[in-house]
Amino acid sequence: MSNASARSSFAAGFLRTFIAPAVILAILYQAIVAAFGKNDYYMYVLTLSCMNVILATSLNLINGFTGQFSLGHAGFMAVGAYLAGSLTKFTHWPFVPALVVGAIGASLAGVLVGLPTLRLRGDYLAIATLGFGEIIRMLIIASDQIGLKFLEGPRGVMGITKYTSFGWAYLLAGISVWVLTNFIWSTHGRACVSVREDEVAAEAMGVNTTRYKVMAFCIGAGFAGLAGGLHAHFLQLLHPSSYDFLKSVDYLVMVVVGGMGSLTGCAVAAVFLTVFNEVLRRALELRMLIYAICLVIIMLTRPQGLLGGKEISLGAFKYLVPSYGRSRAGSGERGLT
């Protein structure tokens, strides 16, 4: 394949993951401002949405694409948050290197979880990863006893500098989705999906299933750690209760609602559920009830999730970008699910 078409496909990828969602978000934001007036709170919700997009898409790599049922995503997020947060607060590191170290730390934790749980499947794996998430949280709560006094145990660390802006969150969400998309639409991504489809057959066809399961955990956990770092510098607070089991369930819900094995689906679901959750705050005590009922209705009407295994494509925009349709066909990016 020539370099020219490689470049245009690269540009198309950039357009897909950065510009198109930005345009959609900008229009949404303007519509909300026009209807309700300007408010910092809207920016807060949008920033939170971006972080949830990172968490939902990375969890989808593990759960939806590789078929490894993980309930420990908040645990990986906590590793990233505490690492990045401590680095900027106690050692005065700049924001970006701290985020990177947080992500790397979380991805190492992902490998740690991936290796011993390789023999587990389905519900057994879910329970093991749930246990892992709780162990991380308990270690933080017990930090006084294990010689990490500066983590303040159950009291939490306050006064983290607010580095996370909407711009940072959006940029990193875009990068995450872009990296995950490129990973999934490659031979390595297909190998991960084959593990989900039939592990025995995948192994017999020469796919090193162990390697790909650990890889999925490593990459997925890394992005969860990145989102954790963003989260810590957004709330300006590190607290173990921010990373409990229910958080993992929240992200799982985003993946299931958006569609197991659909990156765009769970990204849309992440934004939608975050905003919806905030809108429901007006309903006070009834909030969680309405939220739960809506989830039940969605699952009854779309059990495969909003998008099932399909992806939203920029098909409608392809006439605006002459090279788009061609390059996509040429690079072999067809639906994988």
Partner: protein, 257 residues
Amino acid sequence: MALLEIEDLAINFGGLKAVSGFSMSLEKGDLRGLIGPNGAGKTTVFNMLTGVYRPDAGRVLLNGKDIIGLKPHQITALGMSRTFQNIRLFKGLSVLDNVRIALNLTASCGVVESVFRFPKYYSEEKRITDKAEELLDLFKLGDRKNALASSLPYGEQRRLEIARALATSPKVLLLDEPAAGMNPQESQELMGLIEWINKEFDLTILLIEHHMEVVMGVCRRIQVLDYGVTIADGAPDQIKRDPKVIEAYLGEEVRDA
């Protein structure tokens, strides 16, 4: 030196001797049949050869290399591929992706190259896709490449499974009851296909089959298993007349007093 040398393979499942003393030697280009009544241990032999089960005793040499204890994907990479008795396609994926996944072990682009879309990624994707399409065309599945594997009719699913196994570029191909559930006409076609693969790809094939006309038709030599023990080994005509084989399939002859 034989391509696949199996010596005294044995495995027990909790006191049950599933297979014992199984030996076989396959030369390049052989087309060997493995038959026996239900539960004789034929699929168990396949599972031991491909690393799904670890045998309790015995040796398996593939191209002179001992493969006991290797993982299934390592054995596949060394050149032994298989199909399954109960078809195991990646059902939710397209026909093309089924074959492309089997080409994963030939891919030379790393994760970083793939994620950051280096030129190598594009050349590898193109090579893999072209190779997969070429195989699908050979198996007359080219026009179904975007269909879901589960949507194919039964016979085509069997063909796709063979195409997928061939994508790993095996030297030895193990076919586990490829004609199961096929009507006479389909099994006729399958016989032609197996003979054609044997010649076209210069491939060594070991075939488990219940359809006697298929095995007798294509295999030049047949080995018979009963209760995990080899009871006969020879040319199809010899096997047909072997009293032990007839006994295993039909029961002992009753002698009139």
